[in-house]
């Protein structure tokens, strides 16, 4: 009774599962380096190479940009516009984090186009991203509302409502990470089904599906993740005065 037995009757090989590459021992536990780690490293290498090239270009930046400098300026301006429109006067402090997050999630999502298994189709990755957002929200709430305001919001409107407020706090990273994970996973599963079950006739037309599942859905979910993160952070940064 292996995984996916309902679909493997016809001898089609459908694999969208995370596969272990090699095991290692840590504190007496056997852990695995999986395909997710390898794809993550590839994505990170692409980002690092891009940023090193961008730094080299921007060191001798010309007044009138050309070539690669154009691309870099376009990316930075687009991210700046998005962050400014969502966060207003709080934008400068969070520009670095949101920009990095956007580029990382976007590259992870569209890495399915290049034959990798998207790293964001692993709940471990998206939960980590959601937890970073959770910590940022709570840290900024304590920083801007002070401890008293933080607990007053927790006991709002009556102390008896505290469990519900706690649940709604915990639900933020859960729903953020599950949304990204489920969207990318469903895209990966659909593509695996198409390639696995229609392997004889899946010749050129799956490109259209790739455009929808990898490019469109991936960029929409990237935008949504960053937008929601910014909205949550900006809403706790507002001080009543």
């Amino acid at each position: 009774m292996g995984a996916g037995i309902l679909l493997t009757g016809g001898g089609a090989d459908i694999d969208f599962m995370i596969k272990g590459v090699f095991p290692y021992q840590l504190f007496g536990q056997t852990l695995w380096i999986t395909t997710t780690h390898i794809c993550l490293v590839i994505v990170m290498l692409v980002i690092i190479v891009f940023s090193i090239l961008a730094k080299r270009v921007m060191k001798k930046a010309a007044e009138v940009p050309s070539g690669f400098q154009n691309v870099v300026e376009m990316v930075v301006e687009m991210l700046d516009r998005m962050i400014n429109s969502a966060m207003g006067k709080h934008a400068p402090k969070f520009r670095n984090y949101i920009g990095t997050l956007f580029i990382f999630i976007l590259l992870s999502n569209i890495s399915g186009l290049f034959g990798l298994r998207p790293p964001t189709a692993d709940y471990g990755v998206t939960l980590a991203l959601g937890l970073i957002t959770f910590v940022m929200i709570n840290f900024n709430e304590i920083k801007h509302q002070k401890m008293s305001g933080y607990f007053k919001a927790l006991l709002d409107p009556w102390p008896i409502w505290m469990p519900i407020n706690l649940i709604s706090k915990v639900a933020i990273p859960m729903s953020l990470s599950l949304r990204l994970f489920a969207n990318i996973l469903s895209g990966a599963v659909m593509m695996a089904l198409v390639y696995g079950m229609l392997s004889q006739v899946a010749l050129i037309w799956p490109a259209a599906l790739h455009v929808y599942f990898d490019l469109f859905s991936g960029s929409i979910q990237t935008y949504v993740f960053c937008m929601l993160t910014m909205t949550y952070i900006a809403s706790v940064c507002e001080t009543e005065s």
Binding site: I5, L6, S175, L178, R179, N183, L185, Y223, V224, L228
Partner: protein
């Protein structure tokens, strides 16, 4: 009473089918948002880009419940937690 694995697999498949019915609510919600956005654009075409980004954000949030159903269906089908 003892159930064999095929029976549990069949019931898992039925459960997965029922779970993805949650897509109905998502579809209604997303269609509603898109219709309202079309109305808003027809009233005020000059803020089309703002309306589009707001609509996409709302639709993605509304999509979450449908995706939860999809996740449950996928777990039932591929992870098979109920098969002993």
């Amino acid at each position: 009473m003892e159930f064999n694995e095929n029976f549990i697999l069949g019931c898992s498949a039925i459960g997965a089918g029922i779970a993805v019915i949650s897509g109905i609510g998502t579809g209604i919600g997303q269609g509603n948002a898109a219709g309202m956005a079309a109305q808003a654009v027809s009233r005020n075409p000059s803020i089309k880009s703002d309306i589009t980004s707001t609509m996409l954000l709302g639709q993605a949030v509304a999509e979450t419940t449908g995706l939860y159903g999809l996740l449950v269906a996928m777990f039932l089908m591929f992870v098979q937690p109920l098969v002993p």
